[in-house]
Symmetry: C2
Subunit: 145 residues, 2 copies
């Protein structure tokens, strides 16, 4: 999970570009198998040229979104739901109402998560401060080079 800053998701890309599966795999530091698996699960639907998969800039963005969701601890099933939220037809008023309700729900969920995260960060910052102080007391450098 906690990989060392591998994915390089944002460069000035032209929206016409087409990506191969290996390209996307490299860029996001995942395997092609993973991307195909996401397709099996209905998370992405690339065009085909014969059998070969062709990914648009939109597909690439979508993939990035999926991976970000994963990093935040959502399951693929949850991520699929959220992606489908965008895709849903917005013709009917009842659909719009539902969409609004769901996205508010999700925002609350994210905000809960944010509170958890902030609490977590605060604790570790406390550790850092105290340990740094202890080191200083012992006359050692704290590692700020």
């Amino acid at each position: 999970m906690t990989a060392a800053v591998s994915a390089v998701p944002s460069e000035p890309r032209d929206p016409q570009r087409i990506y191969s599966i290996a390209e996307l795999a490299r860029e996001f530091a995942i395997t092609a198998r993973t991307i195909r698996f996401y397709e099996d699960e209905g998370l992405i639907k690339p065009r085909r040229q014969g059998l070969t998969r062709l990914y648009t800039a939109g597909d690439r963005t979508r993939l990035g979104w999926i991976l970000r969701g994963k990093r935040l601890g959502f399951s693929l099933a949850e991520i699929k739901e959220l992606l489908d939220l965008y895709q849903v037809d917005r013709t009917g008023v009842s659909q719009l109402r539902e969409l609004l309700r769901r996205s508010r729900e999700h925002i609350e969920d994210l905000q809960r998560k944010r509170r958890d995260l902030d609490a977590h960060i605060k604790e570790f910052e406390d550790v850092e401060i105290q340990v740094a102080a202890e080191l200083k007391k012992r006359g050692a450098e704290t590692g700020n080079d």
Copy 2:
């Protein structure tokens, strides 16, 4: 994963209290099996009275910490590492240095996660705004009761 605000982790508790496994399970909305599993994995080590497990307020806090970590998308292995970080002996200077390094590393990881989270929230807030506007345009109430 995304349960509906179930755990009620903070009440004015006295630090002398002892908890049964079922009590903690109820409070955190998990099963006893899960708690025992965490013990097998070395995440908590309750006292025993014969065979029966007795949990202190510290154990309870620890359990809450574990579950928060899970909500944030950390694996149990990662959580164990982080918990052990606190437990490590802080006698030697080299241990302190290592502890400092690790906790800084972890803070950076959490901050990355926070950026992910903020981006996610922003996107959904945009959806909310636009959908609400669309609904208003159509003369329907937006659902703010």
